[in-house]
């Protein structure tokens, strides 16, 4: 059991992989739902983990308002008098289109049009507690919960309509929010059934949900909910929110990480009109009537910082090989281990014809969400409201309550649909800073981080070192697999290769930089190392890399995506052109199976780059992905394409440069992210498995690209690159 303090002290990396119950389990305030929502019917969805306890107790059957509410609630659905359906969930929308996925799932189950369902998301005063939107959990966990609620709602409403129409419930069906009997002689609308009701229903665990083969709205490419608001610029991100009397804030940042404050002189800043300087320990911030003045005032604060000497990129590998000595090291999952070793590495190596030992590394990279951290904080008496883009609204509420020593009921966090996160917005530092400024100013304050602040004061995808020792027989049978991951994490560390002797471990280290979750977590690093190494083994025994994989993989789902990708790519059908190369890789994580083929070209240096270096261009990528039943084909394809494009950065050129407690490339001009000109031809193959429950898809499609490209570079040049990014300045050979 991990206590809350330990949880918080640990690095952000994959903390959600703990799969613990939340450390908090608040007594659910027995709010009067009808009072809160007005007339209509509310369906409450007990949390999945609470349902088991509820089982056997049955429904209390008591009336609205008196019903005993479960403490632990996943969601609720309100059907108002006009027939509108409002779903309340603590999940948030950060570009992964979960708003659309959840909306179409409810509409599908309830048999109502998509546009009659509205989602209220990520508002700690309005929505039930949620751990956060991460780990590709929304689709596998929240969709079934909401479907249960919608199914219960449908059955209840049918019974009510049947009573109103004086027909048997079995004679009624719902089509497009209308109840119809067999010959359509009797009809009622959803609004007519909900009118005048005052009901709160707790849905039973036993309710059956519609299976994928019977889906009507789910499984289709419903367009992004609110798309028109985005293309017109009307959607209000946190950055866009303005409150009455709002001031603008700016934080005076330390000169380096871990710097301590020696002295501060605020006179010049405070002399500026309308400027207020706030100092509280090492926190220094200013507020002003406009952004420009706030920035000038922050620059006018004279501060002396003392910073200790700190390591840089050149010392990173040695540093990460040393075991962690503090609680910040290591990811939560597996507690520093991997899996239990199987067989004997010594025996496995003895049985091998070829043995191989190699080291792979990955650098720190930045999420660089296009909307940097932002928050608008407003105090009304002792109640604090903060708008902020976060993947963990309830986690941010906790941070705020602790920072200001106030009860959580006095804090409301509202997360507008956010300008992306990729695992990078789990923390609430900007919210805390804005709230501190607002408290001092006595007015609402908006604080928006600059791009440089986002690059510097957020957190990074962990760097890592991976050592692999392996053995293979000449016929391609893998005999031994010893795998050590230092620091980057244990996600995706497990193998689908049937290797009788394996020893797979994750070792926490002391990270010199603040590190945390990143789309796919360590699965990218672990797949890069594993799939590069498998390619090396295939070449060691002169076998086709696809053939060696298929020889050692029994898992049908993984074989299916491998074969689907190979077929679409034309693997083995032709040889690459001169200076071109082909590469393949595969993997699985979080219920998703992926296989990736890449074609790269080695081209003469472009004018802008180092003239001595050749350029690696990714020409074509084919990726097959399977995550169970497909909920929205277009959005799934979009996620896969986006993952591939994002992966290009980490594979080829993204790398945080640091030294002496400073980030040395905190700008898009220095930290290159993929652009239009980096775009390869991308072909996505969706493998739809209607017989398997849907898993999330925002992360796993990112893991295949880097090893496929590394293997393609080897195919083209004979040069094996074992460090990500592979070619930040082109090929130096």
């Amino acid at each position: 059991m991990i206590d809350e303090q330990t949880l918080r002290d640990e690095i952000e990396v994959e903390r959600y992989e703990l799969f613990e119950s939340p450390a908090y389990n608040f007594h659910f305030d027995r709010r009067d739902f009808i009072k809160a929502f007005g007339l209509g019917i509310v369906f409450i969805v007990p949390a999945a983990r609470a349902l088991a306890q509820q089982r056997g107790q049955g429904e209390s059957g008591r009336g609205a308002g008196n019903q005993s509410l479960p403490n632990d609630i996943d969601a609720w659905i309100h059907i108002d008098e006009s027939g509108g359906v409002t779903v309340f969930t603590g999940k948030v929308e950060v570009g992964q289109n979960t708003r659309t996925t959840l909306t179409q799932s409810v509409a599908d189950e309830l048999h109502v049009p998509v546009n009659s369902v509205r989602l209220v998301m990520g508002d700690t005063d309005l929505t039930p507690f949620d751990m956060g939107t991460f780990g590709s959990r929304s689709t596998p966990t929240m969709v079934p919960q909401l479907r249960k609620a919608a199914a219960a709602a449908r059955e209840t409403l049918v019974a009510m309509a049947a009573a109103q129409l004086n027909v048997a419930p079995a004679d009624l069906r719902i089509v497009d929010a209308r109840f119809l009997n067999h010959d359509k002689s009797k009809t009622l609308t959803l609004a007519e059934v909900a009118k005048g009701r005052k009901l709160v229903k707790i849905i039973p665990d036993s309710i059956a949900i519609t299976q994928p083969k019977d889906w009507i709205i789910a499984g289709t490419s419903v367009p992004k909910v609110d798309a028109a608001n985005y293309v017109t610029g009307k959607h209000q991100y946190t950055f866009d929110i303005k409150r009455e009397g709002m001031l603008y804030g700016k934080i005076v940042r330390p000169a380096a990480f871990n710097a301590s404050l020696v002295s501060v002189d605020v006179k010049a800043a405070e002399a500026m009109p309308g400027v207020k300087v706030v100092t509280d320990g090492s926190f220094i911030g200013v507020v002003a009537a406009d952004q420009l003045t706030a920035t000038k005032a922050a620059n006018a604060v004279a501060v002396d910082w003392k910073s200790p000497g700190q390591p840089g990129n050149s010392e990173l590998v040695d540093l990460l090989r040393k075991p962690a000595t503090n609680q910040r090291g290591g990811g939560g999952e597996g507690g520093g281990g991997g899996s239990r070793p199987q067989g004997s590495i010594t025996d496995g190596l003895a049985a091998a014809d070829k043995k191989l030992e190699q080291t792979y590394t990955v650098q720190y990279i930045a999420h660089a969400p296009l909307e940097p951290r932002a928050a608008v904080a407003e105090w009304n008496g002792d109640k604090l409201t903060v708008w902020t883009g976060s993947q963990r609204p309830f986690g941010v509420r906790t941070e705020l309550a602790e920072a200001f020593h106030i009860p959580e009921e006095k804090v409301r966090v509202i997360v507008p649909d956010t300008g992306s996160g990729y695992g990078g917005k789990h923390t609430g530092e900007c919210a805390v800073e804005a709230a501190r400024l607002a408290k001092a100013a006595g007015k609402p304050v908006k604080l928006t981080w600059t791009r440089e602040e986002e690059f510097t004061w957020a957190y990074f995808r962990p760097a890592g070192v991976i050592d692999i020792k392996s053995g293979v027989k000449n016929d391609g049978t893998l005999t031994a697999w010893e795998f050590h991951n230092y620091n980057s994490g244990a996600s995706g560390i497990q193998i689908k290769y049937d290797i009788p002797n394996n020893d797979i471990r994750f070792h926490p280290s002391n990270s010199p930089l603040k590190q945390g979750s990143y789309r796919g977590l360590a699965a990218t690093a672990n797949h890069f190392a594993r799939e590069s190494h498998i390619d090396e083994l295939a070449h060691a025994v002169n076998l086709d890399p696809l053939e060696l994989r298929l020889k050692n993989i029994k898992d049908e789902r993984l074989r299916d995506v491998l074969q689907a990708t190979a077929k679409a790519f034309g693997w083995g059908q032709s040889k690459p052109a001169a200076h071109h190369g082909f590469g393949i890789a595969c993997g699985f994580e979080k219920g998703g199976y992926v296989a990736t083929c890449a074609e790269i070209a080695i081209e003469p240096p472009s004018d802008k780059e180092d003239k001595a270096n050749q350029r690696v261009r990714i020409v074509r990528v084919v990726e097959a992905f399977e995550c169970g039943a497909v909920v929205n084909p277009t959005h799934l394809k979009n996620q896969i394409e986006g993952s591939i494009v994002m992966a290009i950065g980490g594979a080829l050129f993204e790398s945080i440069q640091f030294g002496n407690g400073k980030i040395l490339n905190p700008h898009f001009a220095q930290y290159r992210v993929p652009r239009f000109s980096d775009l390869p031809k991308i072909e996505v193959v969706l493998v739809d498995r209607k017989d398997i429950p849907s898993a999330g898809a925002g992360e796993t499609p990112i893991v295949g690209l880097a090893p496929a490209v590394a293997n393609a570079i080897f195919n083209a040049t004979g040069v094996r690159l074992r460090s990500l990014p592979l070619a930040p300045k082109g090929l130096t050979t």
Binding site: V231, T232, F239, Q291, T448, N638, V645, M646, R675, F676
Partner: protein, 169 residues
């Protein structure tokens, strides 16, 4: 300190009172509540703040408002007319050319400038013309499709001088 008191925005003369060195983006967003143009980097590197100045795609974050006086400024807010979306806006929805959509305004403004200059751009010309705009979610392929789908259509947004109306903010 020099002040700017009047701007031509989306075909209307708009009264302001701002420091001439303030960024056009900050004035649009904070003083005029035109928040469709986004801050992404403040350094002209990501294109999220793109507006048209006399029809030319311009990074409003690094444009001092004083340099935009007397010129026609067009923002994303001007593209929808009488409740009807601009063809590029329709095309972005149809191609699902967005995820978090924070870059979308800038993408559409850059694309409209590109199409005004070159109504039928090739794929290579789109890539070159749009390369200053970052979509961190990686929807580039879909954005290219969206632009190609309106290629050849009448898509010019703003740029042409119109009779200014007096509007006070």
């Amino acid at each position: 300190m020099a002040r700017v008191t009047s701007l031509n925005i989306n075909g209307k003369r708009t009264t302001v009172d701002v420091d001439a060195t303030a960024s056009l983006l900050a004035v649009l967003r904070n003083d005029l509540a035109l928040t469709g143009s986004k801050y992404g980097c403040g350094e002209g590197q990501c294109g999220a703040c793109t507006v048209l100045i006399d029809g030319v795609a311009t990074r409003s974050c690094i444009t001092q408002v004083g340099r935009a006086t007397g010129k026609q400024i067009t923002t994303i807010e001007a593209l929808e007319k009488d409740g009807k979306l601009h063809p590029l806006q329709e095309a972005f929805i149809k191609a699902d050319a967005m995820q978090c959509a924070y870059c979308t305004s800038g993408m559409i403004m850059s694309a409209s400038a590109l199409l005004a200059k070159n109504p039928k751009p090739s794929r290579e010309e789109i890539i070159t013309g749009m390369n200053g705009n970052i979509c961190r979610c990686g929807t580039y392929q879909r954005i290219i499709e969206a632009i190609q789908s309106v290629s050849g259509m009448q898509t010019a947004a703003g740029g042409a001088r119109t009779d200014a109306q007096e509007v006070t903010s």
